[in-house]
């Protein structure tokens, strides 16, 4: 394609190529301590995510629901027993690179990409410290990330054994299209709770005032 595009300079690639993979390809050299991370957290993160990463105010909690046993097993038990009311970030995330990469590119939310490399290392360390994955005196660095990965509470929590990635993958749920006198129960198992009827506003205002149907006036209870 003559005269279309041009070769990127090294500096241009460096400016944008910020992704960090699970094998730490892309991870810049550097380090940051838990102590420094606490400073970063309290000044730049806690207002949204809570002092302990527990806040549900702007997003689901980041920290919580993981145990020392999970760190050993690499599988978060609360994901099976469902005792934790919400699934926190640390309960789910299998890879420490994911945290590093995401904080580096997107946090703090209103000033993404404003953290220094040290700050990203530090605050990542601090989050893992809050979750008791890393000790108080830990200094996270490109050198020891692989070791830290081995302590991620849900590092063994993922499977790619399913058919929803490959274009010709096999579906896990196999239904059958019965056409006549189909067996099995056809009972109503769940209905809209009354409390949810008008939560989205009056539906009569969310449909046309003409046509085959009208919107239901959900500010009133159902007529039956």
């Amino acid at each position: 394609y003559p005269n279309i595009g041009r070769v990127a300079t090294d500096k241009e690639v460096a400016a944008w190529d910020i992704d960090v993979r699970p094998d730490f390809k892309g991870l810049p050299k550097g380090s940051g301590s838990v102590t420094k991370g606490m400073e970063v957290w309290e000044s730049k993160c806690a207002s949204c995510h809570g002092t302990f990463g527990e806040s549900n105010e702007v997003f689901t909690p980041i920290v919580g629901g993981t145990t020392k046993e999970d760190v050993k097993a690499g599988k978060v038990a609360a994901l099976t027993d469902n005792k934790q009311p919400q699934r926190t970030t640390l309960m789910k995330v299998p890879t420490v690179s994911t945290l590093w990469d995401y904080i580096n590119r997107a946090m703090p939310w209103t000033a993404p990409k404003s953290l220094t490399t040290e700050e990203v290392y530090a605050v990542t360390a601090y989050i893992l410290n809050m979750a008791e994955v890393l000790p108080d005196d830990f200094v996270l660095s490109n050198e020891n990330m692989a070791e830290v990965q081995k302590r991620m509470p849900n590092r063994n929590g993922m499977t790619t054994n399913h058919g929803m990635w490959a274009l010709k993958g096999k579906a896990d749920v196999q239904s059958v299209a019965c056409m006549k006198d189909c067996k099995g129960e056809t009972k109503i198992r769940s209905e809209l709770p009354d409390s949810a009827r008008n939560v989205h506003g009056d539906l009569s205002q969310q449909n046309r005032s003409f046509g085959p149907v009208r919107g239901v006036d959900t500010s009133k209870p159902p007529s039956t």
Partner: protein, 401 residues
């Protein structure tokens, strides 16, 4: 129906006053051409809007607005009503300053301007886009009162752009080593998603056009990735970069979200294909039938695995089914509208639709999905949707199996 009542009343006499007395627009001069150089809907079309679902997210710049499927026609979504899903808000980016980079396992990492991209061989294709979290609120019990909220993270447009394969070729990607690509957005979230190279070379488009004009800002102006059949989060908006690599990237939205919780406590990672699904849009929950008599039951069917083969409709809660008419053209990874004749006799009805795609996959019941995936899965709920019609004419959301 005051209009209906009026019509009925006057019909009893000489006729409908709306006919007998000529309306003003029949007896006056109207407005000139180009009164609106860029036209807008009628003043009577103010109810069908993108709307949020209260409580779904806590901040509205990392949230969703839903397409009002309950009143749309055909398969094209009006661009003004295309659903929104942003992770760090949307921007109206200056296309003159926007750049697109390809790097990684390529001979020449390259930078393209919009000028460059729009000079390349382009394609236009109509595809659906569905958020992986569409219908998520209903994995457990019934939760939302209308199809806008149960299924409205779904839109369908004609997208125009350059095939990603053209760009990968132009940069000389490493045919042996390349296994994945990473797509990255220019927004605050720097949205990133991994895509398999086979898929990237198949039908993925680096798109600037949507329904004949430039993308809307909320949908990624001036550049977004179109990944047919795959959940919307991969259709990276405000696209700034594609990296060619040999391993998946486990980005935030493929390691913490858009992972499917299984009953054994594990998560399925890299589930991206939107499996075959359908829903009746009219009549649907939150609507009221004014009358017995004839209705056209209509809805949408789609599959991330190709074309829709058949859509069946039941009006007795799943005991008996009839094949609906499919509107043409039936396109791959595109919405297909179905219609079926029906006469309401005034008795209670549970109506459902069930789609079958060209792979032979049959849209499952919610209990069939749960039998495999449990109730915590959130994403990829493609269950058969049931609407209950009451004797009063009111339609509501129910789960039936």
């Amino acid at each position: 129906g005051s209009a209906l009542a009026q019509a009925a009343a006057s019909a009893a006499t000489d006729g409908d006053v709306n006919i007998l007395t000529l309306p003003e627009h029949s007896t006056t001069l109207g407005k000139p051409v180009a009164a609106n150089p860029y036209g807008v809907p009628s003043r009577f079309e103010t109810n069908l809007l993108r709307r949020e679902s209260p409580g779904l997210t806590r901040v509205n710049a990392a949230s969703v607005s839903f397409t009002p499927l309950q009143g749309l026609f055909g398969i094209i979504t009006p661009s003004g009503l295309h659903f929104e899903r942003h992770h760090q808000g949307w921007h109206d980016i200056d296309p003159g300053r926007h750049r697109f980079m390809v790097n990684g396992l390529v001979k020449n990492p390259k930078v393209y301007t919009m000028d460059d991209l729009m000079r390349l061989p382009s394609v236009s294709r109509i595809h659906f886009i569905e958020c992986g979290a569409n219908t998520a609120m209903e994995w457990g019990n019934v939760a939302v009162p209308a199809v806008q909220y149960s299924h409205g993270m779904l839109s369908c447009s004609e997208f125009t752009g350059v095939p990603l394969s053209v760009l990968l070729d132009d940069c000389g990607y490493d045919r042996k080593a390349a296994k994945f690509i990473l797509a990255e957005g220019a927004d605050g979230s720097g949205m990133t998603r991994t895509i398999a190279i086979e898929h990237a070379l198949d039908d993925v488009i680096v798109a600037w056009g949507m329904n004949g004009e430039m993308l809307r800002p909320e949908n990624g102006y001036p550049l977004r990735l179109v990944v047919p059949g795959v959940q919307g989060v991969s259709w990276v908006k405000w696209l700034r970069r594609i990296e060619v690599g040999d391993k998946p990237y486990a980005t935030k939205d493929e390691a913490i979200h858009y992972i499917d919780a299984m009953p054994n406590g594990s998560y399925r990672q890299y589930t991206s294909i939107q499996e075959c699904k359908s829903v009746i849009t009219t009549p649907s929950a939150g609507q009221r039938l004014l009358d017995k008599g004839f209705y056209n039951i209509t809805g949408l069917a789609w599959s991330g695995r190709g074309k829709i083969k058949r859509v069946d409709v039941s009006v007795d809660g799943g005991k008996n089914w009839r094949a609906a008419r499919l509107e043409t053209p039936v396109l791959s990874k595109c919405l297909t509208r179905f219609n079926i004749d029906w006469v309401w006799d005034g008795s209670p009805v549970v109506m459902q639709s069930r789609a079958v795609d060209e792979s032979g996959y049959v849209q499952p019941k919610i209990n069939e999905l749960r039998a495999v995936r449990g109730t915590k899965s959130i994403y990829h709920n493609n269950a058969i949707q049931s609407w209950k019609l009451d004797v009063s004419g009111e339609v509501s959301n129910v789960q039936v199996y």
